[in-house]
Subunit: 685 residues, 2 copies
Amino acid sequence: MGFSDVDTLAINTIRVLAVDATFHANSGHPGAPMGMAPVAHVLFNKFMKFNPKNPKWLNRDRFVLSNGHGCMLQYALLHLYGYALSIDDLKAFRHVDSITPGHPEAHDTPGIEVTTGPLGQGISNAVGLAIAQAHTAATFNKPGFDVVDNYTYSFLGDGCLQEGISSEACSLAGHLQLGNLIAVWDDNHITIDGDTNVSFTEDVIKRYEAYGWHTVTVEKGDDDLEGIAAAIKKCQEIKDKPSLIQLKTTIGFGSKQEGTHGVHGSPLKADDIKQLKTKFGFNPEQSFVVPQEVYDLCHKVAAEGAAKEEEWNALFAKYGEQYKTEAADLIRRQKGDLPEGWEKALPLYTPADPAVASRKLSENIINKIYEVLPELVGGSADLTGSNLTRWKGAVDFQPPSTGLGDYSGRYIRFGVREHGMGAILNGLAAYGTILPYGGTFLNFVSYAAGAVRLSALSQIRAIWVATHDSIGLGEDGPTHQPIETLAHFRALPNCMVWRPADGNETSAAYYVALTSKHTPSIIALSRQNLPQLEGSVIDKGIKGGYVLHEQEGADVTLVSTGSEVCICVDAVKELAEKHNIKARVVSIPCFEVFDAQPKDYRLSVLPDGIPSLSVEVMSTMGWERYTHEQFGLNRFGASGAYLDVYKKFEFTPEGIAKRAVATVNFWKDVPNIRSPINRAFEQII
Amino acid sequence: MGFSDVDTLAINTIRVLAVDATFHANSGHPGAPMGMAPVAHVLFNKFMKFNPKNPKWLNRDRFVLSNGHGCMLQYALLHLYGYALSIDDLKAFRHVDSITPGHPEAHDTPGIEVTTGPLGQGISNAVGLAIAQAHTAATFNKPGFDVVDNYTYSFLGDGCLQEGISSEACSLAGHLQLGNLIAVWDDNHITIDGDTNVSFTEDVIKRYEAYGWHTVTVEKGDDDLEGIAAAIKKCQEIKDKPSLIQLKTTIGFGSKQEGTHGVHGSPLKADDIKQLKTKFGFNPEQSFVVPQEVYDLCHKVAAEGAAKEEEWNALFAKYGEQYKTEAADLIRRQKGDLPEGWEKALPLYTPADPAVASRKLSENIINKIYEVLPELVGGSADLTGSNLTRWKGAVDFQPPSTGLGDYSGRYIRFGVREHGMGAILNGLAAYGTILPYGGTFLNFVSYAAGAVRLSALSQIRAIWVATHDSIGLGEDGPTHQPIETLAHFRALPNCMVWRPADGNETSAAYYVALTSKHTPSIIALSRQNLPQLEGSVIDKGIKGGYVLHEQEGADVTLVSTGSEVCICVDAVKELAEKHNIKARVVSIPCFEVFDAQPKDYRLSVLPDGIPSLSVEVMSTMGWERYTHEQFGLNRFGASGAYLDVYKKFEFTPEGIAKRAVATVNFWKDVPNIRSPINRAFEQII
């Protein structure tokens, strides 16, 4: 392929920048950038298709640094190729409010595709990006118009390979025959605990072959640039399998401590840096220096990338002439906007409509919206018949050779892989043309906590269809009945947790989830049937909380979510008839959205002067924020028919009434009862 | 091995019982029990060593049903062999308060080793059980005295194999060469979504070989009893590798729907049951029938098991004569008691002692107690140098052939496998001779949420050393800084979340964690240094919450945990000097333990008549239960030096004082301020 001294200089520049930045920050991971600089240079300089002036160009190749702690590698590349990331930004590495944080964050830094660092996430995101590419290509490409044909590249370390999430995602990637995915394993034999031989002696290559991947080994990853290039080229040619390149490298290459875990997570010492710079031909007295010929080399490639985008723009313009609808659709999707009027497809209900499980209400919605929202792509972690996530007549996303579907299919069979699914959803969303969803039981969204956290942090629109949302699932018992789950995800910033009470609230939940471009949603749905409630309308539901049942001169407010709202409504009658107590009912299907309403509104829902009681069949944690008293389940559930379980724990009109009476009595002597909405000061946001 | 018609009858009895119980419950999973009945019979009747009259016999073989939804298989076996599980218990399958819940629960049902159902957990527990056996054998066995030589058997399905947690645990099991572990894969090609070919086409056998496992395939798992027996025998002979038996079976064998996912998760129809019973020689009009010859066959094996235990008891008595100390230690360990006086090893501090990071305080404790608590066995998920989980001179638990340690070693290198580690801790604890701990960053305990949940549900003593517990970790940034994590695990029933403020509180946390036989603990520890506080003593710390700094006529109570307590102490001065406000300080290192104190005590800590402000650098969710106002971080953190990050979010004496002033002002007109400890009614427990 023809490499010269300038290539070596460019590689050493990356190494030296990583050394300088971690030294300057007195923190960080120089080892991986120094070891992976050669493959990074070969990939970016000879293979990657990208335009630093437009990091969002649709048909760019995606690059994911799964071993995100090595992010100085990526920041150095972004700088060298002319992304909006200056030398000063490199100097601000790991400083508060910089665009060069300790691990790459997609929403802050141009050129970062996904937020990585928590190990195993990046490679799994990459599987999602590759699925998205394959789907978008199958959907939009036309004869003579390969508008989407990019690759997804990912670097990963031993840690990523040990994490179960990557096993899940990579097994699926093999099944799906994703030939557009090329991963590079930094095989440096070092993790934080020392040599990988203390815990990681499996045959990784054999494992990936078992998954159906193509594999290739580069023995001399530190300097065999031709070998690296040949390996990448070979992988590009394999069209029906994802590829794993085993790249044998020396961590911290060039340091006096190279090849040890001493260079993994700490900056190099001053004298080590000196010898290294001298060895690499840099002035040991200077820092953050980039030789002009390195800039020239990189900027030339950047210019070629810009030219490629120009070509593509011309192609896409022609495409737009021939395929007007498709082109408009593709442009719209990238903005994250939904088609005008789509919301008319959302079903509405009246109290005369029959009682239906909210998982079924969710299915109704999916069956209505899939046609008007062609970007909706999703599936289930092997619970399709329980989550009800598949619309009638959906085509599976499958390699055509399986005969089970094709790549234009919009239904993904994730297998029993919740965490992998979560990370794949993040990758699907990050690609830019897909609005992804995934189904499992609410209790098992916890398996994917790491991925959900990154959806929220990186401001990704992804939807969890989380059915069997409480002890109401009944017989499966405590191992499957969530108790802590809602509190967990409600405490996660920028994550909407919905628990709709009926059909209109379910439509409201989907409306907000689908239109919130920068926030993931978990929609908790019942297994059991729920009646359509008087007072529930979509316009109120989208506020996250509202008065379902008003009552003048009320003695108490019952505040609830999901399947307990209808029991509260029955408790109102019980309270009136047996206890002469007037109760109003508030439904708060989503804390996060309710909290965002103006204070006046929130106070109208939860007013001063009246005590309140929350009712939800799981942990009461967090409910103290909204109510004076809490009726919940701060213990594990029970296995049995769901009505028996509800009865055991007194989630009946009588059980609620009993506690409402206690609430009224307990607060009756308190003058001027203050609503919990009133706070002494504002939270930092 | 000699199988007769009675064996076939016993197998069909298991099938019919599973069919009857799921039909009777109108719920459950008949398919797996029907498919796995042959291997279950062969294993229990010809190989397993157990005494149903003493399910806790130390040297019994362990059996783990990882595909826990098939629990009617296990309940049927327990009944047939004479465990304390009657036909009536089978009839009560999936009924409230039965000992036969929808998934097996270890703490409720005799003969169930670990709680399974959430997929992938059981096989990973089995790895823990096998590590525990190897360690206990290496520690206690003597020439001529193999007091511990049991096997661990586990059944698992396709779902368990797809879950990342099993990949993690099984990769480690291969590395550790656990020849005492034999797993049987129910290869029936069916999951809930249908044929496994929709998502699971990897070569499982090749993958397990890549992990270093021995594998064997039984082609005719439905009826080749000799083949099954030969496979198990072969696996028993392989001493340096765990074994996986690929058992090809027909799900729902005997049903008209056999081989389809129709029999996976729903009872059979009445007419199907009829034909099945007729086919198997049972009276189609009768239910829950066990032929006497089947009882006889099983009870004979049970009697042999009882005899084996008698033999073992004799052996152990002799062992006790020769190895008095070891025998006494083994007996003590099984009770879960700690050696008398062990707590004297816990370090105590005075305010004159230097400021130390609480992760380092934890290391001090481990260095002090490892000698007096020989049952303490643990490690880290590849963060040893950060978690500080290894005592000086610890020996690694490693196969001797690696030259890196041996099986008597008490330090486990888990690799970057948090979820697998969590499930292995559960298995280690369940074995009965080990008190396990595992280290990772607090943020990555979330990766293991599924396993932590099962620790809590199954009442297992396991300890998480969860360092880098907040934005105080600094430069690694938001991807690593927990926000929702404490709220999540505080909402989990029967889980102690500790966040100690200094040395004495860290010792208190360990004291309670180590002595709580039926509760897991997460000990959240700082990366940054913390001063030794005036007023902090271990006797108060073990109450979960106490008054650190009392002040007569106080205007406000500052309530805090961990690294923010010392900032609150500084804020007291700031408030007195600049605002003329008197503040008291309360430390609540553990909600769960504080909640268990008498109400009088809790009210003395958080009294009526005075407003309170909580201070903790993460989600405020849950703090409303204890305080009137909350200062926290309901957003993601930032990457930077930790003091800069604290300053950015105003977690400084000044920032706290500002909010304390706001709190005092906001509550000054409220007469008779009520402590949040007062509640209208008691929670259900």
